[in-house]
């Protein structure tokens, strides 16, 4: 009762990274609230889910296994979640801010009349004093998210309604195994008690899912390219630099929109969040929405021909020059001087 529940996204018997990241965060929230961490797996052929999630500190895994529950469709998954939440009364429920979580979350929250905050970038526990009502609430979930195109950050709370629900994008939270031998238990749900025939109104007739091509989230070195690169062709020098340094190439939204880079390379508020050892920003001005996704990099080098580019404020090294001149020099030095 009153635990934290994480909805697991499962594709081809593998739990998605975003769900493991949420489990990591939820485990630490559960520790500070001194409650249990629960996870729910809804789909088919879920025998291997337990082994994947217990190391993240899951105490109870609810499993709703039925061939009709995979692939994901909105209403049956909603029905399982709503009934389970009514039974378990979780205080917090988390989901990925993915095309599944953002389809499911609002439906569940509407059915339970519980608040939902989309795309949180931080989750914390804290108190709230409602001066007007003269009430103090303890241990609420602070749901922190950018608003107004990233220009402000808002802290949202749900004082009265439970569960407190939030979605978080992939890559925003860190994924960390708690204990490879952590012991949790599996509770199988009797699916016919949770869904009705009338939930199966939408049928998936075709699916083409791709594995993410870029490995930005796990890269130690990232070369970020912006609109200032000028062309897709000019991005080639970034791939070359990434190649010699053993890194990955990311991009700003302006570069993605211009077709210089692929969508899954986008870094920032509406892309992935990265925290590499080294981030080299090439021809990126450094608007708030981009910085939000890379400011935690250990070392930031900005290569920009504008002395006043905002990226320079958060950079450790500011190289005030043209990328076309600087990048080849870096490649040349490294080729000559590394073993």
């Amino acid at each position: 009762m009153n635990n934290i529940i994480v909805y697991l996204e499962i594709e081809e018997a593998t739990v998605a990274d975003v769900s493991l990241e949420l489990l990591t965060k939820a485990r630490s929230l559960a520790n500070s609230l001194q409650c249990k961490l629960e996870a729910v797996a809804i789909g088919h052929q879920l025998d291997h889910v337990g082994a994947q999630v217990f190391p993240y500190g899951v105490d109870t895994l609810f499993v709703a296994d039925d061939p009709r529950l995979a692939p994901y469709t909105s209403m049956p998954h909603t029905s399982v979640m709503v009934k389970l939440f009514k039974e378990e009364q979780p205080q917090i429920a988390l989901m990925g801010a993915t095309s599944i979580g953002r389809d499911l979350g609002p439906r569940v929250s509407s059915a339970l009349f519980s608040g939902l905050t989309a795309d949180c970038t931080a989750l914390e526990i804290g108190d709230h004093e409602d001066k007007k009502e003269g009430k103090t609430y303890h241990n609420l979930l602070y749901q922190i998210r950018p608003a107004f195109g990233g220009n402000i950050v808002a802290t949202i709370i749900n004082p009265e309604c439970r569960p407190q629900m939030a979605t978080v994008r992939e890559g925003v939270m860190k994924k960390e195994i708690l204990d490879p031998n952590y012991k949790g238990k599996v509770k199988k749900l009797h699916v016919p008690d949770y869904v009705q025939e009338s939930d199966f109104l939408i049928h998936v007739i075709e699916r083409h899912m791709e594995k993410s091509k870029s490995n930005l989230k796990n890269a130690h070195i990232i070369i970020g390219g912006g609109y200032g690169m000028g062309s897709k062709d000019n991005f080639k020098m970034l791939y070359e630099l990434a190649d010699v340094l053993g890194g990955e190439v990311g991009a700003s939204r302006a570069a993605v929109d211009a077709g210089f880079a692929e969508h899954d390379q986008q870094i920032g508020q509406t892309g992935v969040t990265v925290r590499p050892k080294l981030y080299i920003a090439c021809g990126i001005s450094g608007q708030i929405q981009h910085i939000a996704g890379m400011q935690e990099s250990s070392i930031i080098i900005a290569i920009n021909n504008d002395k006043n580019a905002p990226i320079n404020h958060i950079a450790d090294y500011v190289i005030n020059a043209n990328v076309e001149d600087v990048v080849p020099k870096m490649i040349r030095y490294y080729r000559q001087n590394s073993k």
Partner: protein
């Protein structure tokens, strides 16, 4: 076959063009400094509605928007592009609504219509970026939903086939009317205004707008009923006040902060050979690279 189509469209501040003057000194947003626009993905939804209407003559496209009086502009804009009529849901009782209270009010307005086959929404509104209202309206009405639609592939009798664009791929799904669909920005852009429709609907007004303007076109509104944009207040639709506005909103804003990034002490380089060599050497020496 003809369809009764509803499009939910919202007027939003243009957050994509937030300039420095849009932020007040205390870190809050100066909404007045931002232009009010038609939420971009709602235009994609409108286009899908108009395509269904083209394909099934006799179909109608009805716009519902909830907002202040000036949101009537959204309905006029929709009429210029080919919608048939629209309702402006406006009342102080709706103020302070979060997505749940908004979807409750919109669902009540939809229930107030005699018959609806398909409801089209934008995927998300650019002021909140939540993408919650569509699915919540569907849940409140007990309808199935298809989110992230990019293309309506086929419609036969009571079955609709839709292609969805997800972050990692494509999915084609089939459902039956009635249902709710949210439309992605990757779907085709909305057709432009039609000059003849602009002329036809130029004077379309809500009752409040008519009262405010003292032009002498008043006779027109009874002669041309299509120029009346219906305003609905809480009293015109069946609602429970507990689910509206601030009271009906489980989420509260606790705090709002301006985004400031900690400026770092940085080394300034001009990028000559020696500097770059030194920099690379340092990065190799401290094991950042290599």
């Amino acid at each position: 076959m003809s369809l009764k189509i509803v499009v939910l469209a919202k007027q939003v501040p243009d957050t994509r063009n937030v300039g420095k003057d849009a932020m007040k000194a205390d870190g809050t947003v100066n909404r007045a400094a931002l232009a009010a626009i038609y939420n971009p993905e709602d235009l994609n939804a409108l286009e899908q509605a108009l395509r269904l209407k083209d394909r099934f003559p006799g179909s109608t496209v009805t716009i519902i928007t909830m907002g202040p009086g000036r949101a009537a502009e959204i309905i006029r804009e929709s009429l210029y592009r080919g919608a048939d009529d629209g309702f402006l849901l406006t009342d102080r009782a709706f103020a302070g609504s979060d997505t749940l209270a908004t979807s409750y009010a919109l669902a009540c307005a939809i229930r107030n219509l005699p018959h609806v086959d398909v409801i089209l929404c934008g995927r998300q509104a650019i002021d909140g970026d939540t993408a919650q209202v569509g699915p919540q309206v569907a849940e409140k009405l007990g309808l199935p939903q298809i989110t992230y639609a990019e293309e309506i592939v086929d419609v036969t009798n009571d079955t609709i086939t839709v292609k969805r664009r997800l972050e990692r791929g494509l999915e084609t799904v089939q459902g039956k009317f009635p249902l709710l669909i949210t439309v992605n920005g990757t779907a085709p852009a909305c057709r432009p205004r039609h000059a003849k429709l602009v002329m036809k609907y130029h004077h379309a007004k809500t009752i409040t707008e008519k009262q405010e303007s003292n032009d002498d076109y008043m006779f027109m509104f009874s002669a041309r009923p299509y120029l009346n944009i219906t305003e609905w207040s809480v009293n015109d639709i069946k609602t429970d006040a507990n689910w509206l506005g601030l009271k009906g909103s489980p989420t509260k804003v606790k705090a709002i902060e301006n985004v400031v990034f900690q400026a770092k002490e940085s080394k300034q380089l001009v990028g000559n050979d020696t500097e770059i060599d030194e920099l690379m050497k340092e990065l190799i020496a401290n094991h950042t690279i290599g």
